[in-house]
């Protein structure tokens, strides 16, 4: 095993990813977690560059480190600044799943092709053909774009629909003006159910307080505490 700069870079980045991932799991301040996730994204973007996956790195940097950090911060402002502690017994299940999945992957390492092996099936079969065929059939220098938009354009269509659906889902559930969730469904006849709210009761009455107001109050409360301490 030779310690080329690329090798050291790869391992250094992976080690940093690991450290950041542990920090994200351990820390309970949501603000710090959001920031660390941005750090994680930037690190993985750097790692993708070292793997020569520039397009992926670009996406990761733009989406992971850029916009999702802002969106997470926006979401965090509406909730709280601290995560609630989770009792250990609730953590055991996910922990076991992670350990088992990780061990399974370790089990398979022996039969995986070597890192960067040009003759591995993933690189030699369709991968190589894409590179050849793009030159021959599409005439654009960026093979990634050719695969994404033409050879596997149908997948990208599906992904576009996923993004559309994400936006539509937000529109449906939250609304763009922050006033969703007040409307109540009513049965069309007599309501004799226990679970459903009766039509006689005023639905606004037992609404929780408007979210924005309560978080605001909480925030100012936190702030004064922060200054005093």
């Amino acid at each position: 095993m030779h310690f080329s700069p690329i090798f050291i870079l790869d391992f250094g980045l992976m080690a940093m990813l690991l450290v950041v991932a542990f920090a994200v799991v351990r820390i309970r301040s949501l603000f710090a977690i959001v920031m660390l996730q941005g750090v994680y994204s930037l690190l993985s973007a750097a790692w993708f560059v070292s793997l020569d996956a520039v397009d992926v790195a670009f996406t990761e940097a733009a989406v992971g480190a850029g916009i999702s950090t802002v969106l997470m911060l926006g979401a965090m402002l509406l909730t709280d600044r601290q995560a609630k502690p989770i009792p250990v017994h609730q953590k055991m299940g996910p922990f076991l799943v992670v350990v088992v999945a990780g061990l399974a992957m370790f089990y398979a390492i022996g039969d995986m092709p070597a890192y960067g092996d040009a003759l591995s099936p993933a690189n030699a079969y369709i991968g190589a053909e894409y590179i050849e065929a793009t030159k021959r059939e599409i005439f654009i220098p960026n093979v990634v774009t050719a695969v994404l938009a033409s050879y596997r354009g149908y997948d990208t269509f599906g992904e576009t629909v996923v993004i559309f659906m994400a936006g539509l889902g937000v529109l449906l559930l939250l609304g763009l003006n922050g006033n969703a969730g007040k409307w109540r469904a009513k049965p069309n006849g007599h309501n004799i159910g226990e679970g459903a709210p009766t039509p006689a009761r005023n639905p606004v009455e037992n609404e929780p307080k408007p979210v924005a107001k309560s978080t605001k109050a909480k925030r100012t409360a936190k702030k004064t505490v922060g200054v005093k301490s």
């Binding site: 850029g66 916009i67 220098p141 050719a146 937000v170 924005a212």
Partner: protein
């Protein structure tokens, strides 16, 4: 005087450049890294920066929420419409060669890729803004002391 004078000045300088970069990434995607996804995110980031610095109401004046649903749908329609157009021309779904079957340099492919990337761009920009507006609007406003 606003405590954010510096931020405002710098943001005013940067936002047009961010938008320009988004379009560069969009239209240069055939040659360098990039494409509709990245470009859409970058443009949305520019608008979000505007919202953060100048307030979400100003951003809503610049990019009204009513555009968002239309923009999102338009993107998917453009993508799917490209496929429908290839159907009309007698090919399979998304078979871009139908646009210019005689071309030796795959002009049809270029047109098809251009159209679908534009569709992705529209959808991504508007979806990102939709999410941001939805979360951003739930606080009364992003007032100064919050940032």
């Amino acid at each position: 005087m606003s405590p954010h004078l510096v931020l405002r000045v710098v943001a005013k300088m940067l936002i047009p450049l961010i938008a320009l970069f988004a379009f560069y990434v969009q239209f240069h995607g055939d040659f360098g890294p990039g494409g509709g996804f990245q470009a859409g995110v970058i443009l949305a980031a520019g608008i979000i920066l505007y919202a953060l610095v100048f307030g979400i109401d100003a951003a809503k004046k610049a990019v009204p929420p009513s555009w968002i649903r239309i923009g999102m749908s338009f993107g998917v329609l453009l993508y799917g419409g490209t496929g429908v157009a290839t159907w009309m021309l007698g090919g399979n779904f998304l078979d871009y060669t139908q646009f210019a079957p005689e071309s030796t340099h795959a002009a049809g492919q270029h047109w098809g890729i251009f159209a679908v990337e534009l569709g992705v761009f529209c959808t991504v920009t508007c979806a990102m803004l939709a999410i941001f507006y939805a979360f951003g609007s739930r606080t009364p406003e992003l007032s100064d002391e919050d940032w």
